[in-house]
C-alpha cells in the first residue's frame, strides 16, 4: 500500500509540474505582454524613452525577460576592478545621438555589444528625443540589452526555488561569527522564562525554532515554502505570506527590544529577518535592535486570508456532512414520499439555478432574519460567520444528499439485501450493517477532497459577504495579470487536488477491505 501511494504521489507530482508548465506557457507566451500595463498608473504617466525602459524593467520583474542596462554592465566592470570610477562616469555618459559618441564610450559600447552577442542578448539604443533643442520629458537616451526567458529555464528556476532551507551562509554581508545557538531561555521573553529556541547568526531568519502560546506551540523558520512573489496583488510579498499573514488592526502589547527599550508595539520579534545595513539607515531600528535582524512582522487581530476561508469552509463542510447524511438516508427510506419529493425539489433547485443566483437569494433571505450580511474583521461578533457558512453548506448538502440517496436506493435493490432479508435479519440490522456501510463508501472517498478544498476558499460566497478570504486570490491575480500569483496559486491548488485524490483512495481502501490497489487488475 505504501509503495502504491508513493508511486501515485510521484505520478501526481509529475502531472502537477506539467500543469504548472502549461499555465506558464499560457500566461507568459500566449497573453500579450503589454496587458500588464493596462492598470498601471506609472506606465501611463511616463513618456518616450523612459516608458520603454520602464516597460522592460517591469517585464523583468514579472519574469518575462532578462534585462540590464549599459550602466549596469559598466558598474559590473567597476566592481570587478576592471575600470575605475572616473572611467565609469565618462564611459557611462550616452550622447544624444550615435554620431556624437565619445571614443571612450565607443570602446566600451563595443565591449558591451560583444558581451551581449555572446550571451544571446539583444541590445537596443534609444536616441534622445529632442524638442526645441531641449530633451523632452522622459526623452533621455537609453542603452540596454534584453533576452527572453525560456520556458524550461523559468520552470526549473521556479521548482528549485520552492523549498528554501535557511543556513548560516544565507547572509552575504559580514555579520561576525556565523553559527547557531541553542538557548533554553528565549531572549524575547526577557531571558528568564523557560522557552527553548534556536537562534542563528548569518541565517536569513534570526529565530529558526521557537516556542510560544499559539497553536502548534513550537514554530520553525528553518524550512520555508516559496510559491513565488506577487507583483501587483500584494507588491513584493511572497504568495505564502499573502495567504497566511494575519489581517486586521495591530495588537499592541508591551515589548522589550534587544537594546532594552520597552514600548507598546505590535512587532513580532520572532519573525526577525536580516536587513543589511538597516541600523545605519534607520534610527528607529538602531534604537531597538543590537544586530541587523530588524525586519519584523506585526501581530494583527484578525485571521489570515487562508484562516478565514478555512474556518468558514471547514465548518460548512462538517455541517454539510452532518446534515446531508441523515437527510439523504431519510430520503432513501421514504422513497417517492413527501420527504423525498421535497428533497429532490431542493436538489433540482441547487443543481439548476446558477450558483451566483442562489447565493444572492440566500443573502436576501438571511438579511430578512437580521443577521449581518457583510463581514467585518474588526467586529468581535461571531454572527457574521453564520451566513457565509450557511451559504456554503446548503449547496454541498444538496450534492451529498443526491448521491447518498442514489447509492442507498441502488443498494436497497441489490440481491444481497434481499437475501439478508429472507435470512431473517431485522430491517435495522440490514440497514446499518449492509446498506449504509456500502452506500457510504463513495461518500467517504470525497471527504479528504472537501476538507482540503476548504483551504482554497469559495469565491462567490466570499465576494458576496465581503469575507477577506483566499477564494478571490486567483481570480484577482488573473484580473491584475499577476503572473507570479497565478503560477503559485495554480501549484497550490494542483497539489491540494492530487493529495486529496490519493487520500480519498487510501481512506476508501481503509474503510472497505474489498478495495485493494496493490493487486493487479484482472
Amino acid at each position: 500500500m505504501t509503495k502504491y501511494v508513493l508511486r501515485r504521489f510521484l505520478h501526481a507530482l509529475i502531472s502537477v509540474v506539467i500543469v504548472v508548465a502549461i499555465v506558464m506557457l499560457m500566461i507568459y507566451s500566449m497573453l500579450d505582454r503589454k496587458l500588464i500595463f493596462a492598470n498601471d498608473p506609472m506606465y501611463t504617466k511616463m513618456s518616450n524613452n523612459q516608458q520603454v525602459v520602464y516597460k522592460y524593467r517591469k517585464w523583468q520583474d514579472y519574469g518575462y525577460v532578462y534585462y540590464f542596462t549599459y550602466a549596469d554592465y559598466l558598474s559590473g566592470l567597476m566592481q570587478s576592478g576592471e575600470i575605475d570610477e572616473e572611467t565609469y562616469k565618462k564611459a557611462a555618459t550616452i550622447a544624444r545621438k550615435a554620431d556624437k559618441d565619445s571614443d571612450l564610450f565607443k570602446e566600451y559600447a563595443a565591449k558591451f555589444e560583444q558581451y551581449c552577442a555572446e550571451n544571446g542578448y539583444t541590445t537596443q539604443r534609444l536616441d534622445a528625443i529632442v524638442n526645441r533643442n531641449k530633451i523632452a520629458s522622459g526623452g533621455q537616451p537609453q542603452y540596454f540589452a534584453y533576452k527572453d526567458r525560456p520556458l524550461w529555464q523559468r520552470l526549473v528556476n521556479y521548482f528549485t526555488g520552492i523549498i528554501k532551507v535557511d543556513n548560516i551562509h544565507a547572509v552575504k554581508e559580514d555579520v561576525g561569527e556565523r553559527g547557531l545557538t541553542f538557548t533554553l531561555h528565549d531572549p524575547v521573553y526577557g531571558g528568564k522564562k523557560f522557552s527553548p529556541a534556536i537562534i542563528g547568526n548569518g541565517t536569513k531568519n534570526k529565530y529558526l525554532l521557537y516556542c510560544d502560546n499559539e497553536f502548534p506551540f513550537i514554530h520553525q523558520n528553518l524550512v520555508s515554502i516559496n510559491l513565488g512573489v506577487s507583483y501587483s496583488i500584494n507588491q513584493g510579498i511572497e504568495i505564502t505570506t499573502t495567504m497566511t499573514k494575519s489581517q486586521g488592526s495591530y495588537v499592541l502589547r508591551e515589548i522589550t527590544y534587544p537594546t532594552g527599550l520597552t514600548e507598546l508595539s505590535a512587532d513580532d520579534l520572532h519573525s526577525a529577518v536580516y536587513q543589511p545595513g538597516s541600523r545605519e539607515l534607520n534610527v528607529v531600528a538602531a534604537e531597538r535592535f543590537t544586530d541587523d535582524y530588524t525586519s519584523v512582522q506585526t501581530v494583527k487581530s484578525g485571521l489570515s486570508k487562508m484562516g478565514y476561508s478555512f474556518t468558514i469552509g471547514i465548518i460548512a463542510t462538517l455541517l454539510a456532512y452532518l446534515l446531508a447524511i441523515p437527510l439523504g438516508i431519510w430520503m432513501a427510506l421514504k422513497k417517492e414520499k413527501l420527504v423525498d419529493r421535497i428533497g429532490t425539489a431542493y436538489i433540482v433547485f441547487i443543481m439548476a439555478v446558477p450558483s451566483v443566483a442562489y447565493i444572492l437569494i440566500f443573502k436576501a433571505i438571511g438579511a430578512m432574519t437580521g443577521l449581518p450580511t457583510t463581514f467585518d474583521i474588526e467586529s468581535k461578533s461571531k454572527l457574521m460567520f453564520i451566513l457565509p457558512i450557511v451559504s456554503l453548506a446548503l449547496p454541498s448538502i444538496a450534492g451529498l444528499m443526491r448521491w447518498l440517496r442514489r447509492f442507498m436506493i441502488d443498494q436497497m435493490n441489490s440481491d444481497y439485501v434481499k437475501f439478508a432479508r429472507s435470512g431473517g435479519l431485522s430491517e435495522g440490522e440490514i440497514f446499518t450493517k449492509h446498506i449504509f456501510k456500502n452506500a457510504a463508501i463513495p461518500i467517504i472517498h470525497g471527504i479528504p477532497g472537501s476538507l482540503l478544498g476548504a483551504l482554497t476558499g469559495a469565491f462567490i460566497t466570499e465576494r458576496v459577504y465581503v469575507v477577506p478570504g483566499i477564494g478571490g486570490l486567483l481570480i484577482n491575480a488573473i484580473g491584475a495579470y499577476d503572473n507570479g500569483v497565478i503560477v503559485g496559486v495554480t501549484l497550490f491548488y494542483g497539489v491540494l487536488s492530487v493529495v486529496s485524490m490519493i487520500l480519498g483512495d487510501v481512506l476508501m481502501a481503509m474503510v472497505d477491505p474489498r478495495i485493494n490497489f496493490t493487486s493487479k487488475a484482472r
Binding site: 497573453l31 446558477p354 486567483l474 488573473i478
Partner: protein
C-alpha cells in the same frame, strides 16, 4: 377436435382433458408472438404518462417562444432611452405611468432606461444559444471519444494522464486567458467552454462504458465473434441512451450557470447575456424599488435551467428501457 384413436369414454375421461396433436404450419411458425416494441415510441409513452411532464413541456414551450421568437418580433434598442433621466430604474407601475401599458414594461426599466422584460429575454437568447451550442459540441465529441476510450486500454492510459493534467488547470484561468488572447466575443466563449469541456464528458462516458463493457452478455457476444464496433453500437450505445440524455440535462443548465459566473467575475462575453445582466444589476438587488432589475434575470435563468433540467431528467428516466414495462 375429435379424438379418433382412443375411446376416452371407456376410461371415464372427457375429451378436453387430454393433449391433442396440432398440425405443423410453416406460416404460423414465422409469426412472433411478443407484442410490438418500438423503443422511441415507448420512451414517449412513458414520458407522457406522467402528467407533470406535459405541464413542464408547456412551460418549456412558452419559455422557448419568449427566448427565441419574442426578441425577433420586437424592435429592441437598449439605449433608446439612455439620455432620458426619468426613464431609468422604474418600477413596473412607474414605467406604466411613464410609457403606457404594454408588455415591455411589466418588469419596469433598467439602469439605462431599457425595458427589463425585453432585456431579460434578449439575454436569455444569448445564454441559451451558448449553452445549446456548447452542450452539442461537447456531448458529440465526448460521447464518441468516451466510447472509444472505454474500449482501448492504450488510449485509457494516455487519456487518464491527460485528464489528471487538464483537470488541474484552473478552468477560470483557461477561459480568461482564451478570452484575453482572442476577444470577449460569443464564439470565443464557445471555444473556451468546449476546448477542454468535452474531456470530462468523455471521462464520464468512458467510466460508464467500462461498467457495461465486461458484462456477461457482451462477453457472450464477443465469444460469438461479434466485432467490437457492432458491440459498441448495438449492445452498449442503446444502454447508454438514458445516461446520455441525463447528462445533457445536467450539461445545458451548467453552461448557463457558468456563463453567469464568468460574467459575475467580469470575464464574460461583451453581449448583454443573462449573466452580464445579473452581474450589472447586482447593486440593484438591495436598492429599494430596483429589485425587478435584479430578480427578473435571476428568476428567468432559474426557470430556464430548472425546466430544462427536469424535462431532461424525466426524459432520461423514460429512455431507460427498464421503465417501459
Amino acid at each position: 377436435m375429435e379424438n379418433e384413436l382412443f375411446d376416452l369414454e371407456k376410461y371415464g375421461l372427457s375429451n378436453e382433458e387430454l393433449f391433442s396433436r396440432v398440425d405443423h404450419s410453416e406460416t404460423e411458425s414465422e409469426k412472433i408472438t411478443a407484442p410490438r416494441y418500438s423503443y422511441w415510441k415507448s420512451v414517449f409513452r412513458v414520458f407522457f404518462r406522467n402528467k407533470v411532464n406535459i405541464i413542464l413541456l408547456c412551460v418549456l414551450l412558452i419559455v422557448l417562444l419568449l427566448t427565441y421568437v419574442y426578441p425577433s418580433l420586437i424592435n429592441y434598442d437598449p439605449y433608446a432611452n439612455l439620455m432620458d433621466g426619468t426613464a431609468k430604474h422604474l418600477t413596473p407601475s412607474a414605467a406604466f405611468a411613464r410609457f403606457g401599458r404594454s408588455i415591455h414594461w411589466i418588469l419596469g426599466s433598467g439602469g439605462s432606461g431599457e425595458p427589463t422584460f425585453d432585456a431579460v429575454w434578449y439575454g436569455a437568447r444569448i445564454s441559451l444559444t451558448l449553452a445549446l451550442i456548447c452542450a452539442g459540441i461537447n456531448m458529440t465529441i465526448g460521447v464518441l471519444l468516451g466510447a472509444v476510450w472505454g474500449f482501448s486500454k492504450r488510449l485509457d492510459m494516455i487519456m487518464n494522464e491527460v485528464v489528471n493534467i487538464i483537470g488541474n488547470i484552473p478552468y477560470t484561468l483557461l477561459i480568461s486567458v482564451l478570452v484575453l488572447v482572442l476577444s470577449p466575443s460569443f464564439w470565443t466563449m464557445v471555444f473556451a467552454l468546449t476546448v477542454t469541456g468535452w474531456l470530462f464528458i468523455a471521462y464520464f462516458i468512458r467510466t460508464q462504458v467500462i461498467i457495461i463493457r465486461d458484462r456477461d452478455y457482451n462477453l457472450a457476444s464477443r465469444c460469438l465473434g461479434t466485432p467490437i464496433t457492432r458491440i459498441a453500437t448495438k449492445n452498449i450505445l442503446p444502454f447508454m441512451t438514458s445516461v446520455i440524455v441525463t447528462q445533457i440535462a445536467i450539461e445545458i443548465p451548467s453552461y448557463i450557470s457558468y456563463e453567469v459566473f464568468l460574467a459575475y467575475i467580469g470575464m464574460g462575453i461583451k453581449d448583454m447575456s443573462l449573466g452580464r445582466i445579473i452581474g450589472a444589476a447586482q447593486s440593484a438587488m438591495l436598492t429599494p424599488g430596483w429589485g425587478y432589475e435584479f430578480w427578473s434575470p435571476v428568476l428567468v435563468s432559474a426557470v430556464l435551467t430548472i425546466v430544462l433540467y427536469v424535462v431532461g431528467q424525466n426524459l432520461g428516466d423514460a429512455s431507460d428501457p427498464r421503465t417501459h414495462m
